[in-house]
């Protein structure tokens, strides 16, 4: 709660929260907000502001298949948020639990888990995505798997470092001398102190995962075509962007804005984490 209060006092965090909230609302209420069916051809390719044959406005124009770009953008928010939050949640469950165990117990368990993490970190991320998607095929679930493999080692390292640090704190020593079980020490003493730094990483990772979903879409390795997806929209419109920049510019703005919001939020959380560790 203290963290949340501090967030509300930072203008950049407020901006981040606001953009995040708008994105979330858009994703939740996409069917109500989108003026058209994102998959339906309603007109030939149209510039922003044109009027569709049925008399409705196409505020952002229509793409090369004549689908309303605004509607695809709105439904795309749902795609991007859904898959990036699922992927991030998976990465965090794996990374946090493994990191806690490695940092708390140390020794051989730590060596083994760290080795696995470092092996995964040895792959350049895009290479890892390409390998996983090529071997398992392009689908939402495989995006989650790929992102978890790529992202969990990073979360693992953060959690492990915090657990290693906390393990030497006197309040943890006190809990141990009182006969607290290992699970309780990890859950009651260590984890609550990792919340703010983890939250900072969560925001950043949520943003990067949104970008990853976009990049995979852009590379044609993401969700299979008619699904409205920001990265996919750029990929589809790329070759005609010279003549019709509106095909690609709006999804690019959308994803940049979302990432900026998450970065600012993460930055503010890091400041708070730093401040409270100083106090």
């Amino acid at each position: 709660m203290k963290t949340f209060g501090a967030l509300l006092r930072s203008p950049s965090a407020l901006f981040g929260l606001a953009v995040g909230a708008v994105a979330l609302m858009t994703a939740l209420f996409a069917p109500l907000l989108a003026p058209h069916d994102p998959l339906q051809t309603i007109t030939p390719l149209a510039l922003p502001g044109s009027v569709a044959p049925d008399g409705s406005h196409l505020w952002l124009g229509a793409d090369f298949l004549g689908r309303d770009i605004l509607s695809r953008l709105i439904w795309g928010t749902r795609t991007v948020l859904l898959w990036s939050s699922l992927s991030t949640a998976a990465s965090f469950s794996v990374g946090v639990s493994m990191g806690l165990l490695a940092g708390y117990y140390g020794g051989k368990l730590d060596t083994a888990l760290s080795f696995i993490a470092n092996t995964l970190l040895a792959f350049p991320v895009t290479v890892l995505y390409i390998i996983i998607i090529t071997s398992f095929g392009a689908s939402g679930a495989n995006i989650v798997i790929a992102v978890t493999f790529a992202s969990a080692p990073g979360v693992f390292r953060i959690m492990r470092a915090i657990a290693l640090d906390m393990r030497n704190r006197d309040f943890v020593a006190a809990a141990i001398t009182q006969g607290e079980s290992a699970l309780a020490v990890m859950g009651r003493e260590i984890l609550p102190n990792a919340v703010t730094p983890l939250l900072a990483d969560l925001c950043l990772r949520l943003g990067y995962t949104a970008i990853t979903v976009g990049v995979l879409g852009f590379l044609g390795l993401g969700l299979p075509p008619p699904t409205p997806d920001w990265g996919g929209m750029v990929a589809e419109g790329k070759n005609m962007a010279i003549a019709f920049p509106h095909l690609v510019i709006f999804p690019c703005i959308a994803i940049s804005l979302l990432m900026l919001a998450m970065s600012l939020l993460s930055d503010a959380l890091q400041q708070i984490a730093k401040g409270s560790s100083r106090a």
């Binding site: 092996t119 792959f123 350049p124 090529t134 590379l219 750029v234 690019c252 994803i255 990432m259 970065s263």
Partner: protein
Amino acid sequence: MLHFIARRFLVLLATMLAVSFVVFAALELNIEDVATHVLGQFATADQRHLWLAENGYYDPFLYRYLRWLMHFLIGDWGRSIHFKEEVTTLIPYYLKNTAMLAGISLAVMTPLALLLGVLAGMREGSALDRMISFFAIATTSIPQFASAVFLSGIFVFWLHLLPGASPMTSGFAWRELVMPVLVLVLAGTGYLTRMTRASMVEVMSSAYVRTARMKGNSFARVVLRHALRNAMVTPVTVVMLYIPWLLANVVVVEVFFAYRGFGTLLYTASLQHDVFLIEGCTMVAVVAVVSTQLFSDLAYVWLNPRVTFDAPSEKTAGAAA
């Protein structure tokens, strides 16, 4: 020191071995898939069966892995299905192009980021600091395919200054390099700037900088003589880690600008399910990553006389202490 290098080197070898196993398992565990990818979708089941038998794919998996590894070590990386050429002849050509792209990007990015980071970090909270910090966050937030779109919009379609693609079909052209470099620099500078800034802020608030001030040093001299050297340790080691970052990120940029580099090669290989080419590319990329990590660790030890060689290298922990 020697002990430290030897140990790190052993870890490096173990990592490479683990990686090779993962790669092989991911791509060749399912032999039916391999046969389909090699022979094409229209091959019959009998043809696939024959090919698999001929190439020893019915041997036990572990045996196949070891054989593959031995071949790999002696330089027999197989033939690309799509390009119909030896993998070992394909990779160097494409890698060279990427090395040039990445090298120029690094050469532009590093001094720029270090300068901005030092300027921001020497007076924490100043207007200049806030400006640079925001710039750093904003630029890292734009995904590369988006900044490629934005920058193309400005320099190619609006100002007509540069070509919009970089296939270099009619020989090498400097003008075609500018856009990809620009996109990479824009994406990469922010992070290094923030690292440098953080390091600089920490150093500027240290006791020895205060001592230097109380000796009668001017602010400029304190920054140049006392702060810089210590503040550079972390960013310099981070620069090394940009090589893997670039390897991962050139894919998007190269594909966007149709630049014939390592990223495009890997991308084409993955679209075509060119199994042996993917294996070759991945192993090369991993070698690059792991060896830069080693160099980064060495640089850290070399720049920071306080680090004990046998302590596990935990950069964040070392920098914080």
